[in-house]
Amino acid sequence: MKTNHRFFTFLFSFLCLLLPSLVAAQHITFETPDEYKSIGVYDAWEQSPFRTGALDGSHYVALTENPDTEINELTGTAPNPSATVLSIQRSRYGSNTFGARIDLNEPLSLGTAKKYVHVLLYKPVGEEAPAMLIGLGKRHDWEGQKPETQQFWVDASVPAQGQWNDLVFPITTNEAVDIYSFVIVPDLASPHLRTTDFVAYIDDIEVNDSPKPRFQLVNYPLNFDADQAPTRTDRALTKLTFTSTGEIAKNVTIPTTTVYNNLTEKTTVNAKAGSTVTVKMTYKGAWMSGYVYVDWNNDGQFTPAITNHQPTEDSELVSYSYLGGYDSKGVSQTNGNSVVNGVISCPAFTIPEGTQPGIYRMRLKVDWDCDDAGGNSNPNNLLTANGGAVVDVLLNVHEENVAISANQLNGDVLRSDGTALSDAPIPFGKSFKIKMEPAPGFTYTGVVITHGYNLDGPEYVRDNHQYRAITIPATSFNETTNEYTIPAAYIDGEVRIEGFFTPDMDGVRAVQTDQSNHSAQVAQDFPRHFTVDGRPISPQPVCRGVNICRGVYISNGRKILVK
């Protein structure tokens, strides 16, 4: 998509036109009062003053003018042009689940399907907390049940402040459940340190089948098409080299078939807070310069801040070889030809002390005298015309050690010395050996290793991969010691391990078949046939203790290890 500007762009979808009438019935715009039954406030906290009657919630919700109908100058549309919206005064006396309650005209029945509730939410600047949707309802087949039973709680990531966001809440219920009310919690945080209330705005509640926001912010915009092919053959970025204090230098080969390369899924640069990072760009060509950006606040954009020819402390343009006659050290440059012996050397920059460990988007750009992370859009100096390039990678700001822990039933996942994983943190970036210890009567089938950051949150934040979950089957473990060495690459943040244990089946360690007479569940005490590859192990129905030779078998396409 071509945008030609460095601001966020709104992508509109029109799925609502395709939705069935049921969904249309669950579309509340707050333009007319007949779209809903009633509005009010709700607090899940038992002792809430809004439940005890100490405070009157009717003062805290109202229909008001839309606080932001501004038309985006480039798209020519407003994210929310609605005249009237619902306002909710976030009371400092409510709990973290205080929100606006909207009673539906007709109960919403989801059946067995997953649906998505879209809500437009506007929060003032400075209010950083997730939002939540609570569903109130009841089973339609239970007489006397109150329709205020909490049916689900779904939280969303922190909405951008000072602008309309389309939040999407996936919801499911038992098929016998009807939803009577939605509660929109604008501020899922404890208000105990608040001294004043604030007002948030809600609009355009829609239930549909689309998990995608009706509009969304484009993260890390470009000023040219993301799949733009190079226009010049005499210029190309071919390699990036990263060095940082205490880390092994990383060389990354850059594909030259497109001007932009998003390498965030396969390239992560490691560095500790306080360390110095240097980037070198191997570039075929001349009269171009190098620029390095880091999205320190994870807001989906790179915001330069230059004072006295140098980046300020919070600038997200952290290094450049030429900008307005200077490099990022404030050293005067005679011209913008930064290519020396085929390499653009960007001045070293420091990861600020106190930077929170986590994943950050890093952008490397070859361009001409331009601080715009999306690329020079001056018609006389377009990045694409000048043979520039943009590459995105991830920056992992880490500590010396990382936390490791395990969760499992019917056994333990331990350190190789038999102690608990969470006893102490382990060194970042070093392989680590674990050991399975099944409870009596159980064996193990493997583990899932989840590693990275934000493990309780969304897997992607601003399109940046926060963590990964890797399944390690039992066959990857040492059969004698029950040990497995976690590769160093997985020790890249917090590490959580979930062990899987299953009842031991008289020596059959891992079995999965889809026909009962091929089952190897021979530990049970009822007679059955047991076959492997259709060949009976015993001509008669057998019970526990059937003698199967040690080895690996394939049954119904699945591996069976008999130890």
Binding site: Q47, V177, S516
Partner: protein
């Protein structure tokens, strides 16, 4: 609960100014806070798990539902009173009895299936009614009680068949039957196991089955609502989302342990109160009784106690009845030893002998209540010491007239207003000027924190001190503590 309105309009951005009177000057809650039933549940602290059922007679841990009902044939009528009497001797305040495990065999006369004690293999089995006998014994003994009922049912042909028949015809009716055995139940335990690669009988269909989402399949929100309607103080464990599994079955919680979030340490930033429960085996084989098993020693169990109850978790310690329907004598003996050990080590509060207990700062009193440091030692869980708003650090000093042998410091936050303390330290001194810091990780407190001053939960040795200093180094808001004990 909710203030409703039909339609009104307001000026955009206008704030309705309202102040809630606070004549008692109580600190604002730090959310989330526990519900009343969660508070009562947490106060149970230490209770027993009794795994008894079909597996007791088949030497299995997980049956597959095909076991003939006749296999259930106890040599005596099971005796829950003996179970509870034994665990009470260890200081436990209640127990959870397994009344249906994954094999689906019901230990009460249920209308939902014939796979129950009604068709047991002998008269002792047919006279078995664990929910009835267990609840009656608990009430007689002044103990709390609850039931474990497995949602996963490997016997039922309905389970995971793609319809809602299992939930509507089997599971929910079973839960309602069990709820009616007592409105004073304190916990219902729903195991999270949900199928996967474990083949089952499933009404004779045999094979493996799975379900996509346990919460919606079992309709947990409405199960929770209905159980609460019958038993208002009954916490629904596991998928019920009112108490969390601590993340291991080895009998320990994280030294940092928030009552929000998941796993061994919880998460300070999670939005929901979900305190941890540690389930652990007191014997050396399985959850169910197996021939030749023996209990862990009282010292080993005391270590588990310190690392769970002493770390802001509850402890549910498993003692499996044998085929006679009673706890083996070896278990009874070790329970008595454990009770004696807990009483000896944590039964005499030396704070009662202190010549002074002072705090560096104290919250301004309200109209009828104070937040004085004396509230820490008055034995009243409803009074507490607190600092003023904005004061997130403080020091509490304890002094005796002569040196004492100190082993443990116990702190309890007033969690009705939320869990607050992030970090604290403990120091001791003989002369009041030279201090020795306890090196144990002292991060969270929560409902209860017991800190061994010798930095070991395995060994019992005291240190000599005449002075004790507790420094709260960081807190989410003004700290609130209702009890300080020294043993």
């Amino acid at each position: 609960m909710v203030a409703m309105m039909a339609l009104c309009t307001a000026v955009t951005g206008q704030i309705y100014e309202e102040t809630l009177p606070n004549p008692e000057n109580e600190p604002a809650p730090v959310h989330p806070v526990p519900s009343h039933r969660q508070l009562l549940w947490q106060e149970t602290e230490f209770y027993a798990f009794f795994h008894f059922g079909m597996n007791t007679f088949t030497n299995a841990e997980w049956g597959d539902g095909s076991e003939a009902e006749s296999r259930f044939a106890p040599t005596k009528v099971p005796n829950p009173r003996q179970w509870l009497t034994a665990v009470k001797a260890a200081g436990m305040k209640g127990g959870i009895a397994v009344v249906k495990h994954h094999d689906g065999f019901c230990l009460w006369p249920t209308a939902t299936t014939t796979h129950s004690i009604v068709n047991a293999g002998n008269e002792n089995g047919r006279q078995t009614n664990i929910p009835k006998d267990f609840s009656e014994a608990a009430r007689d003994l002044g103990m709390k009680y609850g039931f474990y009922v497995s949602p996963w049912d490997l016997n039922s042909g309905y389970w995971g068949d793609g319809t809602s028949n299992y939930v509507n015809k089997v599971f929910l009716p079973q839960c309602l039957e069990l709820a009616k055995y007592g409105s004073d139940q304190f916990e219902m335990w729903f195991d999270g196991a949900t199928g996967g690669d474990h083949a089952g009988y499933y009404g004779g269909n045999r094979g493996t089955r799975t379900i996509a989402d346990a919460s919606t399949y079992y309709d947990i929100p409405n199960l929770r609502d209905t159980v609460h309607a019958i038993a208002p103080n009954c916490v629904i464990w596991g998928v019920g989302d009112e108490a969390r599994w601590i993340g291991n079955e080895a009998g320990w919680a994280g030294e940092t342990n928030w009552s929000m979030g998941w796993g061994e340490s919880g998460n300070e930033h999670n939005w929901k109160w979900r305190a941890g429960e540690s389930d652990a085996k007191a014997t050396n084989k399985g959850w169910f009784w197996h021939s030749g098993e023996s209990p862990k020693s009282a010292s080993e169990l005391f270590k588990i106690y310190l690392e769970t109850v002493g770390r802001n978790a509850t402890l549910i310690l498993n003692f499996p009845p044998d085929q006679s329907g009673e706890l083996p004598q070896a278990d009874v003996t070790v329970l008595e030893q454990l009770g004696t050990m807990i009483q000896q080590r944590l039964g005499t509060d030396l704070i009662a002998n202190a010549t002074s207990v002072t705090a560096s700062t104290t919250r301004e009193a309200g109209a009828t209540r104070t937040y004085d440091v004396s509230n820490l030692t008055d034995g009243d869980k409803e009074t507490y010491w607190a600092t003023n708003d904005g004061e997130h650090t403080a020091t509490i000093n304890v002094e005796w007239s002569e040196a004492q042998t100190l082993h443990y410091v116990m702190l309890m936050e007033y969690i009705r207003l939320g869990q607050r303390i992030r970090k604290f330290s403990i120091e001791t001194s003989l002369d009041g000027s030279s201090w020795t810091k306890c090196a144990t990780t002292t991060t969270t407190v929560g409902y209860k924190r017991i800190v061994p001053l010798n930095n070991s939960t395995s060994t019992y040795s005291g240190i000599q001190a005449r002075y004790l200093r507790i420094t709260i180094e960081d807190s989410r808001s003004c700290p609130t503590l209702h009890t300080l004990s020294v043993f």
